[in-house]
Subunit: 394 residues, 2 copies
Amino acid sequence: MTAKVQGFQSAGVHCGLKAEGAKDLALIVSDRPCAVAGVFTTNQVKAAPVIYDQSILAAGNPVRAVVTNTGKANACTGEQGLVDTRSTAEHAAQVIGCSLDEVLVLSTGVIGVNLPMDIILPGIERAAAALSPDGWEDASSAIMTTDTRPKLVSVTTESGYTITGIAKGAGMIAPNMATMLSVVVTDAVVSREECDRVLRQAVGESFNRIVVDGDMSTNDTLLLLANGASGVEIAPGDEAFAAAVREVCTELAQAIVRDGEGATKFVTLEVTGAPGEDAAVAVARTVALSPLCKTAFYGGDPNWGRIVCAAGYAGVPLDCGKLSLWLLDAAGEPVIQLVDSGCPADYDEPSAIALMQQPEWGLRLDLGLGAAQTVVWTCDLSHEYVTINGHYRT
Amino acid sequence: MTAKVQGFQSAGVHCGLKAEGAKDLALIVSDRPCAVAGVFTTNQVKAAPVIYDQSILAAGNPVRAVVTNTGKANACTGEQGLVDTRSTAEHAAQVIGCSLDEVLVLSTGVIGVNLPMDIILPGIERAAAALSPDGWEDASSAIMTTDTRPKLVSVTTESGYTITGIAKGAGMIAPNMATMLSVVVTDAVVSREECDRVLRQAVGESFNRIVVDGDMSTNDTLLLLANGASGVEIAPGDEAFAAAVREVCTELAQAIVRDGEGATKFVTLEVTGAPGEDAAVAVARTVALSPLCKTAFYGGDPNWGRIVCAAGYAGVPLDCGKLSLWLLDAAGEPVIQLVDSGCPADYDEPSAIALMQQPEWGLRLDLGLGAAQTVVWTCDLSHEYVTINGHYRT
């Protein structure tokens, strides 16, 4: 049961982009203008809705609605792609009763296919008719692609405002590259500047810290909308608000990894003892991206040589003799030391295998070089990932 | 039938590192001192034999022999690792009758396990007893790990000298990161400086242009030994010699990709129209590393959006509207255009699928930005790759 976020309604409906009646179009509408902030993909190849939304946000005006379609990414679709995004926004504005520049559009799905506007425009009308304060589960289902379950997180604070977020992920996911599709809304009273500051801080510690497969989408977008309906005012620099947004983003980001394409393991990678945070992130990310590490995670094989090897090519100067590595249990406690100062530790192999067979565990790699550290969340590379992506379009 | 390379003998024997009598120890010996050059992994975590060989080469003396063991990489083995490498070299020097600093040692296999010297030392004696001018097939078999077939290339030039090379690959393979294990020998008379120049040039156009999985080993080593036994002198800057070494290295590198872990497709990635060669290589390499591209290669799915998307996050400024993409047949001819100036080309999907189901084909991505180009060879990511690496040690 999701707490109501005041002044927002949402809906998820089937318009025909997905087969068999699955929900494929989501609409989020605020009854009043929202302060808004966005973080977008840094891919050089940007989908039409990313280009469109960036121009809307650049104008600096409040927004009222977000339309999201799945099935087609509307990327590499030339001029027609931008025309279709604008038509989507126009139709939504008309149906909702707001101005064109108050509507944002998100798309996700196959690249290089034009949007079937003849089904999307009626879909918007159906979604508008279905709008409800309780529509979040439908909306979160409607933005799914290869996700196996919807991602919906809601937090109500003691101050009396609520933050609700939905996200979709599953594949084409890597850190330091914006994020996937996610919309976070709140009924707190927040300035545009504060939305922007808080969102950028949150993304750095949530969506930018996850790795599924290292691919970065053409469509990645994260939006934060604040409509002020709760009447609770957020002062600039309010740490409780920042922490609550971060909590919602972190839960959504972790949910994306847990539901990564074919994922059977949720792995927390801690890198400690780094000379700087950038170095820690580079090492953690290289391990998270390594196909050999990811397949060892899949097999539940404590083949720590692959972890140390991947750390070695992260582009960070290392001293092999100072590296230590532990297996962490699901609570994050270091329970088995695998490597001690660059050499194999005296550990019980069956216990290490048994832990790594669990669905959730972690690794702590201490570089022995400094005081900086980071955490990255990732998953394994399984047969199912290959099955899903070997024949994605068929 | 491999042409004899004069003055060299080689052998591959079973000493007990691999199961079921498979060859696991190779020995290459020249009857006279060889000029030598080497290229090594740039991984910060270097195996003991890499550190040892680099110190031997730094001394600048000729060498006589190369010992290679599989099964254990002798990486992350602390001081004992270096002691064991030195003991291996000492024993080989004694058996062959040369000095300690004339022997190089290569290791490959599981990281973090000490070498079982009690079986390696007798193995060296057995290999020495088996030395033969015709031992190359045995030697190339004995350096295999997850390789399914030996890699042996030999070229005899019109000038009368021969170049013979062996290599092992299969996994942990990425470009711009030295190479895997490979030893190339020639009976031409070549200076040490010329060996070094020619080898570095060759590696840039062969081993550094292949991608299997993006992992870079702790043990990667490529050696070139020239013993001069043919009496044919190579003048500094001799282009025919450089071309012949390049040919051997390219054939070995391509053989490694063809035999990549679980590979079912050999894919040639051409990037043209780049603003510079570095940009071309960055784009080609990003596509070659992308799990989504590699699984589409596996599925034989002309999902060109993934290629364009991967190009977009290569860190190279691109203009999506200038991108064009072709499928190449096995001969390298552009037979089907998939993308024209950033938009889908009007192509026949069943023909594209049929071509991509073949074991060998290519892609040409034109960035439309300049005149620079490159070629990278890669393979697909299959269920078998996951099977091999999910349980490598068991």
